[in-house]
């Protein structure tokens, strides 16, 4: 039997102690993996909620102030200018006007590009999207419910007849109470096809939205203003930081508990095997070889624990999470983290008893009862 095989098999020869050690360390790994998955899932959901359909912030005309749906307009050419700012991934125009809609003398009509729906934070519940420049609208589900509209109905907007072609959902109640058509149609109705009211901006992955917003402000701040929902973003950052800090605190606790568990297990194992270590010394094993054996065994136990713990943590979260309203997100980072922790704990946990063992004089080890 090779030395490697000897190390691999050795921990499982003492079945009870190996089982107890694996259970102890696996619990730590389960906690790390489960918490990691839950936190990443929460962060993901949180970001989805905060960023309007993926947009990181909005731009409006200088005089519209903080009102995202103000009726003041900016020139449509701003969309292209904003698209070219460094750090901007996408810039989508939106045209919001107040006009007569159905029985309402004044209501909000929102014009967007048909391919810009993601940014406008809406998703179709029934029907389809409007065609560009057609007399077609989609209604927010709140508006449709309140006014009794369904797909195929006609609705009069600014004295023109429009067909309801779709009903959409939105997490934003302002949106869900709105009426949408193509941006070009709104321009045509307003007789002002070169204007828009807001631009939704999505920044490149890894870019800080605030930094990009500041960049736009610095460049075009005299004409337009960025609305970054600063309060929301700060709160979000605080909450994310808190979530991550909590995860780390609990993970650290898990590591400490798991680490102490393995040190205890390995110490017990070394004590139990004191006479055996004496024999190994007597037959000529070097201290390095004995050290390698004990640390190797410790690593075997922790890696097996990491595999079992990761599997249980993943399965438990995936199966049970959705039932309590949590959508966990598992990235390779979580498993790499769990295995790295297991390996470090395995080395440290094994090293201390190993050093203790090799320092023991062989005659004393052989006398050990």
């Amino acid at each position: 039997m090779s030395f490697l095989k000897f190390i691999l098999k050795n921990p499982f020869r003492r079945k009870t102690s190996a089982f107890l050690a694996i259970v102890g360390i696996a619990i730590g790994i389960i906690v790390i993996v489960a918490l990691g998955g839950i936190t990443d899932g929460l962060v993901n959901t949180f970001e989805d909620t905060i960023h309007a359909g993926g947009a990181d912030f909005q731009i409006s005309g200088k005089e519209t102030g903080d009102s995202a749906y103000g009726t003041n307009t900016i020139d449509a050419s701003w969309t292209d200018k904003i698209s070219n700012v460094s750090g901007v991934e996408e810039a989508y125009p939106i045209y919001v006007v107040l006009t007569s809609v159905g029985d309402d003398y004044m209501n909000t009509l929102i014009g967007i590009n048909p391919d810009g729906t993601q940014l406008a934070d809406i998703s179709m519940k029934e029907g389809r999207l409007f065609e560009n420049n057609a007399n077609e609208v989609i209604l927010g589900e709140i508006y449709a419910d309140d006014n009794g509209y369904k797909i195929g109905d006609n609705i009069e907007i600014d004295s023109e007849n429009f067909e309801v072609v779709g009903i959409f959902e939105s997490g934003d109640s302002n949106m869900a109470g709105g009426v949408f058509t193509s941006i070009s149609k709104v321009g045509e109705l307003m007789d002002d096809e070169d204007s828009i009211s807001n631009i939704y901006v999505k920044v490149n992955k890894g870019e800080d939205p605030q930094t990009v917003a500041d960049r736009i402000d610095a460049q075009y701040g005299d004409n337009i203003t960025t609305i970054t929902s600063v309060m929301e973003m700060e709160q979000m950052a605080d909450m994310l930081n808190m979530l991550q800090a909590s995860t780390w605190a609990i993970s650290l606790l898990a590591i400490v508990v798991g680490g102490l568990g393995i040190i205890n297990t390995m110490l017990m194992s070394v004590f139990e095997r004191t006479r055996e270590i004496g024999v190994l010394k007597a037959v000529g094993w070097s201290n390095t070889k004995i050290l390698t054996m004990i640390v190797g065994e410790s690593l075997v136990i922790t890696i097996v624990s990491a595999i079992i713990g990761s599997l249980i943590g993943f399965l438990a979260c995936t199966l049970l999470g959705p039932q309590i309203g949590i959508e966990p997100l598992f990235t390779p980072k979580i498993f790499i983290q769990a295995f790295s922790i297991a390996i470090v704990v395995g080395i440290i946990g094994g090293l201390y008893p190993a050093i203790k063992a090799v320092r023991l004089p062989p005659t004393e080890a052989l006398r050990y009862e």
Binding site: S2, E276, A282, S286, P361, L366
Partner: protein, 232 residues
């Protein structure tokens, strides 16, 4: 050539309160079978530990199998290559098989897994236990365990076998069988055999009986004691 050369060896424990060896001088020739006898606490086990480089002396010189053990840093290599130990309580590792126990000393040598297994099985065959290679030591009788310990002691082809009360925990019949086997292996493999015992009947089997008392050798033995009067 001498297997052992000891001059003025001193060893004490507990800050000199216990004088385990008190100026020991001893020479053992290559291939000789020597027994060391003495009452408990006389220093015979300490002497054996010194010979096996398990312990180091306070003063005096000790040379075993041509190696000076006073200042050597690679004592583990010396033990691996030159010494085979047999302990009173066999000291087999309980949760590995009989054959794996015999392979344990071979991990210090550059042998492949196959070579190790082949050699271990041959040694087991030599002590008549080849058929029990795969079982755990706790399934063996006391005598069988000690035979496995003998096979393990021979694993690295040592030039000296040091046996500390090898039959101390065995009944007289099993004891005779083990000693006979040990003597046969000593003769066939031409290894130096040094046995520590407090049993005069066992001691008398040796070429020479060395008597130890209070950390001193009171008799280095003579040829009149060659071979025993008891039947082994």
């Amino acid at each position: 050539m001498n297997a052992v050369e000891i001059k003025d060896l001193y060893k004490s424990y507990e800050n000199g309160k216990i004088k385990a060896l008190n100026g020991v001088n001893l020479t053992v020739k290559d291939g000789e079978f020597v027994s060391i006898i003495g009452p408990s606490g006389s220093g015979k086990s300490t002497l054996l530990n010194m010979l096996g480089a398990l312990d180091v002396p306070d003063s005096g010189s000790i040379e075993v199998a041509g190696q000076n053990l006073n200042n050597s840093k690679k004592l583990n290599e010396f033990r691996a290559e030159k010494i085979g130990f047999i302990f009173q309580l066999h000291n087999l590792i309980p949760n590995i098989s009989v054959v794996e126990n015999i392979e344990i000393p071979m991990y210090t040598q550059k042998l492949s897994s196959k070579e190790m297994r082949k050699k271990a099985l041959k040694l087991l065959d030599d002590v008549g236990l080849k058929e029990k290679a795969k079982i755990l030591p706790n399934k063996l009788s006391g005598g069988e365990r000690q035979r496995v310990a003998i096979a393990r002691a021979l694993a690295n082809d040592p030039s000296i076998i040091l046996a500390d009360e090898p039959t101390g925990s065995l009944d007289s019949k099993t004891s005779s069988k083990i000693l006979r086997q040990l003597i046969e292996l000593h003769e066939s493999k031409k290894v130096t055999l040094i046995i520590v015992t407090h049993d005069m009947d066992v001691a008398k089997l040796a070429n020479r009986v060395i008597e130890v008392l209070d950390g001193e050798i009171i008799s280095a033995g003579d040829d009149s004691l060659i071979n025993s009067k008891i039947d082994v």
